[in-house]
């Protein structure tokens, strides 16, 4: 593929091949940031600029009120994620970044599912909930709302099972994560 300044015709296939960033390798990044205005925008903007897609994003306080933790999952990229973590380190408000090793990490997500459950199917839905240790937090005549926590895979599995009953809507928090054992995240 030539430089953009040349006359050479570019095929769409070539362009697409050059732009295919996704490899499917998942990363969980845990980022500690100062609680300053705009800090989150700076971080998400950086990922967009460097060609990374953020899959999930969760932000919350830490034990220190001046510091927030951002947990961010990515689909990975052809180029190594090193470049983006180095760029993240350059942001003045970023204190610490960990690219969490999946095997060394406890990752959990919370989800709320609103499922159709009228007379006929209600018992069956409740049975699925029980298997997944989902809590039923709201019931109406035609629907119920189930609260599930667990790994992303577990929540995906729950979704697959309840979908046939009629999934009215669903809300997921995105994963938060912490390192196993004594190691600090």
């Amino acid at each position: 593929m030539g430089e953009p300044g040349t006359k050479e015709l570019l095929s769409l296939e070539e362009l697409e091949a050059a732009g295919s960033f996704r490899t499917g390798r998942k990363h969980i990044l845990s980022i500690l940031v100062e609680n300053k205005p705009g800090a989150l925008t700076r971080i998400t903007g950086l990922f967009a600029r460097r060609g990374f897609n953020i899959d999930t994003l969760a932000v919350g306080p830490t034990d220190d009120e001046t510091i927030s933790r951002i947990t961010l999952t990515l689909d990975g990229a052809v180029q190594s994620i090193d470049q983006v973590t180095k760029q993240l380190h350059k942001l003045i408000n970023v204190l610490k970044i960990r690219d969490l090793e999946p095997t060394e990490t406890m990752a959990r997500e919370l989800a709320l599912f609103k499922i159709s459950a009228d007379g006929g199917s209600r018992a069956e839905v409740m049975q699925v909930c029980e298997i997944f240790r989902a809590k039923i937090v709201d019931v109406s005549k035609r629907t119920l709302v189930a609260e599930v926590t667990g790994t992303q895979e577990k929540i995906d599995a729950f979704e697959r099972l309840v979908r046939p009953f009629g999934l009215v809507e669903m809300a997921r928090t995105g994963e938060i994560a912490i390192a196993r054992g004594r190691a600090e995240t």
Partner: protein
């Protein structure tokens, strides 16, 4: 005192001598404070001119430049200089006015989301949320702009907060837990690098903009043996062009000697350089035989484009003296470089920078730069705009000192030259400051001639006038079948009359035989001068690495 008066105290505490700016509604309080603060303020005619002037000042002096603009359009006019300063790592603090806090987010008059607009192009930015934050924010801004890899910092100040009455106490420390640049360089890595260098048979030092602040240290290392040196367009002047170990600039319009040396090198020592595409050309064929020592203050530059075998993170000025000491201690055999120098000398003899001069009185653009070199005795600070004239200036004006060459390398901003020269002259009044520009670039910030004339800022502008947007025309000629699309500018405007209208002196030079003398006279004229030099219309910059090609396939 008012927050803006505290701001003045902070600027003084930071050693600010001069700022460049333009007032407006939202920064009226700041300008009221400037009225008797005792800080020199230069009123520019467009905020972009002020921003580039602050860059020129910073590049010429090594100090932090300061530029101001009001909210909305004032701030958006600063976007180009901010981005330019980011790309070339120039320490500049930009102070923008903002609408009063109750209007924020309401699309108020002259409201723009300055922090949002500039976020991807700043080293850091802050919007003042409370008047008490202002003094600390200013000191943090200067600290961040100046240290580590330098860069632009934007401080956005809502107008109501700047009028607030605050207690002011000088701040002497800055505490930024998330900003701790590694500055020293790892000793073990330095030792490894010294060993690699001592064993190299075909080494090249490749110095970029990051070497400008470590010129003496670079020279010490290079001359502790006969290590060949090439510089990027940003690094010119960090090693004397008159030195026998100098190979010339490298990259797209660099010398064959420098590019061929990179191509055959077995070890490349990159110092404050970032392997830009204009340097590497076809990345997969860049320096195929070389191992890389990469010295840089920014860890994100290490292995970004080319994997480094021995990375060393820190200031070049800290690392190079230790590298030199370690290198000398190994007592490397200078004879091992003989064969390499023989090869380099043969390229040098065969491929000097050449062009065919005119048979008549026509001025070739390359000759124009040589004539200027002669007329200024090679001593001027040269600020350049962007395009063909920039490359010819880089090739033919031989820079012997750091901070002698001021250009927009990364962003390639047309319109940079005149205001940058103005800033350089303000920062270094004792120096001769010239601007080499093109008829296209010059018109992008000509209004600053008024600033120069009003303030007696003595810059000499040499317009390389070929009636074309020359670099684009060159590419259309070479790669787009000579289909000259929208590159012809003709002889508009009349630069001599324009100069006079601005209160500067205008001169036109058209004959190569009297060119040097004409330039000397222009340089001896008091006040700002614009010299309209008519040059060949369709000359191309050579040599050149064509797009998509490797360095060894240079043409011209």
């Amino acid at each position: 005192m008012r927050a803006v008066d505290a701001l003045m105290e902070c600027l003084k505490a930071e050693g600010v001598e001069v700022v460049f700016g333009l007032p407006g509604g939202a920064n009226l309080p700041t300008y009221d404070a400037f009225y008797d603060a005792g800080i020199r303020h230069i009123l520019v005619r467009h905020e972009a001119g002020g921003g580039h002037a602050a860059e020129g000042y910073a590049k010429a002096t090594g100090k932090v430049g300061v530029a101001l603009g009001t909210s909305g359009p004032g701030a958006t006019n600063l976007v180009t200089p901010i981005c330019d300063a980011m790309m070339d790592s120039v320490p500049v603090v930009f102070l923008t006015g903002q609408v009063r806090t109750e209007l924020l987010g309401t699309d108020g008059f002259q409201e723009a989301d300055t922090i949002g607009i500039t976020m991807p192009i700043v080293k850091h930015s802050m919007m003042i949320q409370h008047p008490l934050e202002l003094p600390r924010a200013i000191h943090e801004a200067f600290h961040i702009a100046r240290t580590g890899r330098p860069g632009p910092v934007v401080v956005d100040i809502p107008t109501d907060l700047s009028r607030a009455d605050i207690p002011y106490e000088p701040i002497t420390d800055v505490h930024l837990p998330g900003y701790q640049p590694t500055t020293d360089g790892n000793q073990k890595q330095i030792r490894l690098a010294a060993k690699a260098l001592a064993n190299a048979r075909r080494p090249v030092i490749y110095a970029g903009g990051g070497a400008v602040g470590a010129a003496a240290e670079l020279r010490e290392l290079a001359t502790s043996d006969r290590l060949p040196v090439t510089c990027t367009v940003m690094g010119l002047g960090s090693f004397p062009a008159s030195h026998p170990q100098w190979l010339g600039m490298l990259g797209m319009h660099g010398t064959r000697t420098a590019n061929y040396a990179m191509d055959e090198a077995d070890l490349i020592v990159a110092i404050g350089a970032r392997f830009d595409d204009r340097v590497t050309a076809k990345l997969s064929e860049f320096a195929p035989h070389a191992k890389f020592i990469h010295i840089d203050i920014d860890p994100a530059e290490i292995s970004k484009n080319v994997p480094a075998h021995i990375p060393i993170v820190g200031y070049a000025s800290n690392i190079l003296p230790r590298l030199t000491t370690e290198y000398r201690a190994l007592k490397p055999d200078p004879a091992r470089l003989e064969e390499w120098w023989h090869r380099i000398e043969s390229w040098r003899a065969r491929y000097p920078l050449a062009y065919s001069d005119s048979d008549d009185s026509e001025i070739k653009p390359q000759y124009m730069v040589q004539a200027l070199f002669e007329a200024t005795e090679g001593n001027a600070i040269v600020a350049s705009d962007v395009g063909q004239h920039q490359m010819w200036a880089a090739q033919h004006y031989h820079f012997d000192r750091p901070r002698q060459w001021i250009n927009s390398g990364g962003l390639g901003t047309m319109g940079f030259g005149l205001p940058a020269a103005m800033g350089a002259k303000v920062g270094r009044p004792e120096e001769t400051v010239v601007c080499i520009t093109g008829d296209g670039s010059f018109q992008m910030n000509t209004q600053e001639l008024a600033t120069c004339a009003q303030n007696g800022i003595d810059v000499k502008v040499f317009v390389m006038n070929n009636g074309y947007l020359g670099m684009v025309r060159q590419w259309q000629e070479l790669f787009w079948d000579r289909r000259y699309s929208q590159v012809h500018t003709g002889q508009y405007p009349d630069f001599v009359k324009l100069a006079e209208a601005y209160g500067a002196t205008g001169v036109r030079l058209t004959d190569k035989h009297t060119l040097v003398e004409g330039m000397r006279q222009a340089l001896a004229t008091d006040g700002p001068v614009v010299v309209d030099v008519r040059v060949s219309a369709e000359e191309n910059v050579y040599p050149m690495i064509a797009p998509g090609q490797a360095a060894r396939d240079m043409v011209g």
